[in-house]
Amino acid sequence: MLQYSFAALLAFFSTPVFATTIQSNICGQVAAPVFSTQNSTTAASTTVLEGTTTADVSVAIKNNTQQVATITSDDSGDFSLQVSLAAGTNSFTATGTNDCSSASSVSPVVITREAPTVTPEPETPIKAPSSQSTANTPSDNEITEADTEEVTTSETTVVAPQTIDKPQAVALRIILPPGVRSTTVGSGADARTTVRTSEKTIYLKGVSAPLAAITISNNDVKVASLTAASDGSFGVSIPLSGGTNILAIEASYGGITTTQILTYIRSEETNPVFIIGTIAATALVVAAGATIAIRNRLQSKQTRP
């Protein structure tokens, strides 16, 4: 009797089972992106493209068949980014893609960049400085010695190539719009800036090396990749999720990469009491020796001496 019980127990414990997962991925059909940016002619080197497609899809932007950026539409389906303009015709198309379908814009947006008009400057006879003028105190209209160092001449300046022993960082500066409430802890490369917002999408602007490859990840998920303009500027709309969004902005050029971390905390409503609590909390960090900078505006004015 007992032996049969043992057999039953063994049979129970040795019954082979196998689990498999049935997974159905229901994909939304991606709507063809539609640009709201109008065709235009400009002398500027950059422009901002805006458009709409399905929410939360990857949007690849091409200029004359060459891909220039990949961004993510926000939860309303909107996207926008700053793109560089080549001389002549720039025909931009967009393709939205999700896990299982994609759709391309039906109509491209065409931005024609005209070469800037060069007006020849009248030749000005060069006068030797008189002893009288150097003796006087310079007025606002006169050129001082310091100013002359910044005057661009018509001559081509040749800079001798420098010997670089170790890689240098790629310049990268994020420009927050005026009025943004932010908290910065630390300084230099270790600086960590936190911004509180109720916006579902932010437009991230910055300056890096000309034509640097810019990659932006939100909580370790890549949400945009683009190329900085010839003046180093870049801008792209970034959708934010509720709660903490840790944006890692990478600028790469010549095999060198610089990364900046920018944290956005998105809540439906910015609560002043919560902000006060944050300041109180950072005071504890001060006691540990960290540098704290609490700024109402990040833009600073430079004054000439």
Partner: protein, 206 residues
């Protein structure tokens, strides 16, 4: 007095069971004394049996305004040296048989093995060609097609009796494959996302 006697019986039985679990070899030896039957390659309680399948089944659907369907196969392999064959069954690992995606779901079809039915929008199910009322088939893998007359049955929950997929009477020493076809249909009323469910296959020696 009576209660004490019964308690002692329970305790003694418990001790024997514990010993049996600690020393299974001894238990097997004891079984051997009663194991009159040697059914071919193995005795009745020493037959080996394994079950496996090809793994995750992906049913990707790009839904339209009417039902759009995808059908894919899972190959379930049972290997046993039991000359009496095996019984393969399945049910859902959970107490629901819907494919779940947060608060959204794809319900299992109301069809049964005896009376399977065609899938409608936002339902899913399984079929095995030639079994019970499913019909001969052959079923083929397909993606994003219109709903067809191919019939499917619902998957039983973990609380329901398992559905028998195969019952054999001979050994399957080199492995025997049962093709289980899964189908799902959806329309645009279903929120996009990944809907999942876990199926448990069970194989026992007859």
């Amino acid at each position: 007095m009576k209660r004490t006697s019964k308690t002692i019986q329970y305790v003694v039985a418990g001790i024997f069971i514990a010993i049996g679990m600690l020393f299974p070899a001894a238990a097997l030896a004891a079984d051997g004394q009663y194991g009159e039957g040697d059914y071919g390659a193995c005795t009745y309680n020493t037959c080996g049996i394994t079950v496996s399948s090809s793994g995750t089944v992906n049913l990707t659907i790009i839904p339209g305004s009417s039902a759009t369907c995808t059908t894919q196969k899972d190959s379930v392999v049972v290997t046993t040296d039991a000359s009496t064959g095996y019984n393969l069954s399945m049910n859902n690992a959970a107490t629901t048989s819907s494919l779940l995606n947060g608060g959204s779901s794809i319900a299992t079809t109301s069809g049964t093995q005896v009376s399977p039915i065609a899938l409608t929008a936002n339902t899913w199910g399984y079929r095995i060609d030639g079994l019970a009322g499913f019909g001969a088939g052959p079923t083929a893998a397909s993606s994003n097609t219109a709903a067809s007359a191919t019939s499917f049955a619902g998957i039983p929950t973990s609380a329901q009796p398992a559905a028998t997929l195969a019952a054999t009477t001979v050994a399957a020493g080199s492995g025997e494959t049962t093709s289980v076809w899964y189908g799902a249909c959806a329309n645009t009323t279903l929120p996009a996302g990944t809907y999942t469910s876990t199926i448990i296959y069970t194989a026992v020696v007859n």
